[in-house]
Amino acid sequence: MLFHEIYGCYYRAVVQMLNLAIAGGLTEKKMYEIVAETAFEESSLIMIPALKKQEWQLLDENLHTPLKHTPDMPLTILEKRWLKTILLDKRVKLFLEPVPENTELADTDPLFFPEDIVYFDRYADGDDYDDPAYIANFRLIRQAIAERRKLKVTFLNSREQKRCEILEPVQLEYSDKEDKFRVLCADRQSIKTVNLGRIVQCELLEDTFPENVRLKDREKKVLKFILTDERNALERAMMKFSHYKKEVERRDAENYLVTLEYDADDETDVLIQILSFGSYIEVTAPDEMREELRKRMERQMALIDEFATFFP
């Protein structure tokens, strides 16, 4: 059962309070702090009175508890099965070294097998997670990020030429659509991005970079478009663009004005997503995207002498 109170944040907050109570350090102020830290905005209105009024019989009037041990709930079957499930995913090798022999989970049935799920529109050229060199590079990059150490990386650029650079890695970014990891590195001007799958050689250097080196903020652009809700275009667009910060305004029964923020680096990708909606979306801003769409449509019409030959 996925939705159960034992996983809830009220229970979790009470665990924290009982830990402190057993150690003899629980105060009302601490109780409020724990609830604010662990539970929801309005939880203190319920939790603190319930404990103080002894509706939940866990703390007495002096905030002492009759409990003798710090609460420690064993893992549930659901949690163990989930752990077993992720151990079957080939990407797990990136994070566990070595992958446990499964002694504790040997008899645990997974919730599902990787092949039970089909990512039907995922790109076909995802990273090779079985490649020992790839796994070694991933772990080296992970170590470099943790220790703030520079990396000497040789990688293939988009023209299949080898390049060697000294990088200051800060984050690893995973793309679900591409099934790829990229290493994001600090750079003076922007964020330097290298696809992990394109790395030929990776060397951890002794040189470190300071704690305060962070990724530059990404340049943002604002896209505005009018969406005509035919053939369920509204729902499709709202789902497709749900990972962008956006606002939607209904203009009339069929038309919606959508304003969304995107990373300037992703302009081509956003343009392609817009194109996929055809005439159901009309971009109104930015001008350069309108201009690019105009050029593409003119090029398209130039490729069509007449529809009769275009659609033989």
């Binding site: 996983y7 549930t76 992720i86 566990l96 919730l111 039970d116 749900s242 990972h243 659609f311």
Partner: protein, 443 residues
């Protein structure tokens, strides 16, 4: 009924979260699920769970509530929070902690547990709760099913103890972090993360006052705040977080597939078609990484036709009996899957042939790479120095329309058995040329 932050089941809030997250343009009056008060309560709950992630906008037609966030900046799916709001009774929570304490390192019969509770624990309170045997027996049974408690028969009596748990979660910490975001049932990972996070909260610091995970700032403050991404090295792009609120349905589907059981599904359709009940043989969970929609690809148990159901349209369901002959029956789905562009397989006995010729200039090998990695079925072949051809036999060529449009500006010719594809392309081309030809329209 008085407002409560916690909820008994997830059905109502799931719909509201979806509307707030996906659309966000509806006013209070437009939510017709139950009543204005129901809207107020659900809005208040979601606000309580998500805090500042919920925004409001005043429009002429009323006030809109919406959830707006940039996926790339979200390293922890905030929608999991709602799964941590299950309601419980005073007895539930009291019994939970007393049982964990009494059974810690011990094994007792039901009667002993009751006696210990009454004599060693509840005497600390002015008006002790009275637990009867039946309540305790039910709770122990529930906890046995959850895997927390194990019962053992000794002669005629049954004793209870906590289940053995030798798993060190910190060994799995980074894997849990990744799959909490990436797994269709990532919410379970968030439960495990919450357990580990407990080690960082007040009262769990080491003798030097430091967080045992080492994630302290220069003042010793733990950096593992639930919304604090400092120290995070994993981020996610093209990450659809909203399927989190379908987790219960996803769990049901995956259980059906894993155990090869029939599923009894109640779903609603788009438009006014109402609610439909079906018994299906589940085949696979189809997940879209580009459109954010997930589907159950299955077979109708009555007429044995394959079809797909939107997961977010499934209201509820339950697992039925094991399907005899599961593997043989679902060969039809397997074959259909090889010729599906997306999830449509209504015409599963007839393929539609499609060919698309794409203009590729010299120095534009990236277009060929795009064709190769984005084609889901079919082939890509070189026709001449500047033309590449994608060709495939698919069950529903109209499903390819969004992909075909992304090549506007390069399409030299299209041949397709499905006339609707051609007609829609003509409409799109003419309309879009008009949409973008007048450069002064928005000046």
């Amino acid at each position: 009924m008085a407002y409560s932050e916690l909820i008994k089941n997830f059905d109502n809030i799931r719909g509201y979260m979806r509307d707030f997250f996906l659309y966000g343009f509806k006013t209070r009056e437009e939510y017709d699920r139950k009543s204005a008060r129901s809207y107020d309560n659900e809005r208040r709950r979601i606000q309580s769970y998500l805090g500042s992630l919920i925004s409001f906008r005043q429009t002429p037609s009323g006030k809109n509530a919406f959830i707006s966030l940039e996926g790339r900046s979200v390293t922890h799916n905030p929608l999991y929070q709602a799964f941590k709001a299950k309601s419980f009774t005073n007895k539930d929570i009291t019994l939970h902690f007393l049982l964990l304490d009494i059974l810690s390192g011990n094994s007792y019969s039901l009667k002993d547990i009751l006696r210990i509770m009454d004599t060693e624990y509840l005497t600390a309170f002015q008006n002790p709760i009275s637990f009867d045997e039946s309540t305790l027996r039910k709770k122990l049974k529930e906890y046995e099913e959850l895997g927390i408690v194990v019962s053992e028969k000794c002669g005629k009596s049954v004793t209870y103890r906590l289940s053995e748990d030798e798993i060190c979660l910190t060994e799995y910490k980074e894997a849990i972090r990744f799959f909490t975001e990436e797994s269709p049932l990532g919410v379970i990972g968030s439960y495990l993360e919450a357990r580990m996070q407990a080690a960082c909260l007040p009262g769990r610091n080491d003798e030097n006052g430091k967080c045992p995970t080492g994630r302290n700032d220069e003042n010793g403050k733990c950096l593992s705040d639930k919304n604090d991404c400092a120290g995070e090295y994993l981020t996610f792009k093209n990450h659809y977080i909203m399927n989190a609120y379908d987790a219960e349905i996803t769990e049901l589907i995956l259980q059906g597939i894993h155990e090869k059981r029939l599923l009894e599904i109640t779903s609603f359709s788009r438009g006014d078609a109402g609610v439909k009940q079906q018994t299906v043989i589940p085949y696979k969970l189809y997940v879209s990484t580009q459109g954010g929609r997930n589907y159950l690809f299955c077979m109708d148990a009555d007429n044995l036709r394959p079809y797909s159901l939107r997961v977010d349209y499934i209201q509820k369901g339950k697992v039925g009996e094991v399907c005899a002959d599961y593997d043989r029956l679902l060969k039809v789905c397997e074959h259909a899957g090889e010729h599906m562009w997306g999830v449509s397989c209504a015409k599963y006995r007839r393929y539609e042939h499609i060919e698309m010729d794409i203009l590729v200039g010299t120095d534009e090998a990236f277009i060929v790479r795009r064709l190769e990695r984005e084609k889901r079925c079919g082939t890509v072949s070189k026709v001449d120095e500047e033309t590449y051809r994608f060709s495939a036999d698919v069950l529903d060529a109209y499903e390819m329309m969004p992909w075909i449009r992304t090549f506007f500006g390069r399409i030299k010719a299209i041949r397709c058995d499905n006339e609707d594809v051609k007609n829609q392309l003509k409409i799109d081309m003419v309309k879009m040329l008009k949409q973008y030809e007048d450069e002064n329209a928005f000046s």
